[in-house]
Symmetry: C2
Subunit: 213 residues, 2 copies
C-alpha cells in the first residue's frame, strides 16, 4: 500500500494574472513528491460582489497600485521564465473556461486544459471568453470539444460551479489564487512555495491556536 498523498487544493480564476503564474509552476513544484494538486476553478466575480464597498482589487485599484501590480507580475514571470504578454483586453470573461475546467477536474484533464487556456490568454492574447477559443484549446489536447462544451453549459453544471464558489468561501477563501493544505488557506501566488512546504513538511505547520506568549 502506498501512503495517501497530501492534497494541495489550487483555487484559480482564469482572469487573474497571479493565478496564471501559479498555474505555470504548481505541478512542477510537487513533481515526484507524495502530493496531489487538486485543480479547483472558481469565479472571483461572485466573491467580490459580496465585499461591501470593495470591488475587484485589480480593476478598482488606484493608478499607482495598478501599475505596480502589472510590474510585479512581469518581474515574477521574468524571474521564473514564465512567458507573458499582456492581453489587449483585461479582464477577460472567465465563466466558460471555469465551467469547462470543472469538468476537467472530474476527468483528470483540468491541469492540462487550464494551463493551455491561461497560455491562450496571457501569452497568445486570444479571447478566452469566446467558445471558439475554448474549443480550440480542447482540440489541441485531443479532447472532444463539442461534447464538453455542451455538458459544460447545462444548467446543472452551471449550478455546480456556483456551488463551488460557495464551497470556497466557506473555507475562508476571498481571492485567487488560493491554496488549501490540511485546512489551511494560503492566498496569493507569493504563498505558493509556503503552501507546498506545508504539504511536504508537516513539521513546519503552525498550530491553529498558538500558545500564549
Amino acid at each position: 500500500m502506498t501512503e495517501p498523498a497530501t492534497v494541495i487544493e489550487f483555487w484559480y480564476e482564469f482572469a487573474s494574472p497571479y493565478a496564471y503564474l501559479a498555474a505555470a509552476r504548481i505541478d512542477r513544484l510537487v513533481a515526484g513528491a507524495p502530493v496531489r494538486v487538486a485543480w479547483r476553478p472558481l469565479l472571483l466575480g461572485p466573491i467580490f460582489q459580496r465585499r461591501p464597498g470593495h470591488a475587484s482589487p485589480f480593476q478598482d485599484a488606484p493608478p499607482a497600485e495598478a501599475a505596480y501590480r502589472r510590474r510585479d507580475v512581469e518581474r515574477f514571470a521574468a524571474r521564473w521564465g514564465i512567458p507573458l504578454a499582456w492581453p489587449r483586453h483585461y479582464p477577460r470573461a472567465s465563466l466558460l473556461g471555469a465551467r469547462v475546467a470543472l469538468l476537467g477536474g472530474d476527468e483528470g484533464w483540468a491541469s492540462a486544459f487550464s494551463r493551455a487556456l491561461y497560455r491562450a490568454s496571457f501569452v497568445e492574447d486570444r479571447d478566452i471568453a469566446e467558445p471558439a477559443t475554448v474549443a480550440a484549446t480542447l482540440d489541441g489536447l485531443g479532447l472532444p470539444a463539442a461534447a464538453i462544451l455542451a455538458r459544460a453549459t447545462q444548467p446543472a453544471h452551471k449550478a455546480r460551479l456556483a456551488a463551488t464558489v460557495e464551497e470556497a468561501m466557506a473555507k475562508g477563501i476571498f481571492g485567487a489564487p488560493s491554496f488549501v493544505v490540511a485546512g489551511e488557506v494560503f492566498w496569493g501566488n507569493d504563498r505558493l512555495d509556503e503552501a507546498v512546504e506545508w504539504a511536504l513538511r508537516p513539521e513546519v505547520r503552525l498550530p491553529r491556536r498558538p500558545p500564549a506568549r
Copy 2:
C-alpha cells in the same frame, strides 16, 4: 576608495504588522553586504485618505480576509522566529513614532529606535501613541528623550514628515512596507527578499520596458 553602497529605502509605518516583520529582518539580511538600508518612516493615513472609495486594506477588510491576514502574519513570524503578541488595541496611532524616527534617520539611530518601538507595540503590547512609551524607548537606547521629543513636535519637523509622505507617493508608493532599490518599488513584507536580491545582484534587474515578445 570603497565602492558606493547600493541603497535599499525601507518605507515603514509603525501601525503595520507586516512592516514590523520586515523591520525585524532587513538589517540582518544585508549584514556584511555593500548595501545600506535607509530607514524611511511614513504614515499610511494620508495615503489611504486619497484612495477614492478605499480605506485601510487592514481595517476595512471583510472578516475572512482580516482573519487571514492575522494568521498570515503569525505564520511568517513563527517561520522566521520573530516574536509576536497581538496588541490589544489596533491600529495604534503611529504619528509620534514616525516623527521621532524621522529625526533618527538624520542621526543614525532610526533602525535601533524603530525596531525597539515595534517591539514595544507588537511584542510588549505597550501603547506607542503615548509619549511616555516613546520616551522610554529612547531612554532604553541611551538617547536624550526629552530633547528629541521636543524637536520631533516642532511645526517645521511635522511639516517635514508630511513632505516625506508626498515624496513616497511621488515614487509610486501606496502601501507599507515598501522597498525602493534603484528606483524600483517593491511592496509588502513578502517582497523584501526580492528587493535585497535586486540590491545585491544588479544582473537580476528587469529592464523597465521589457522587449516585445
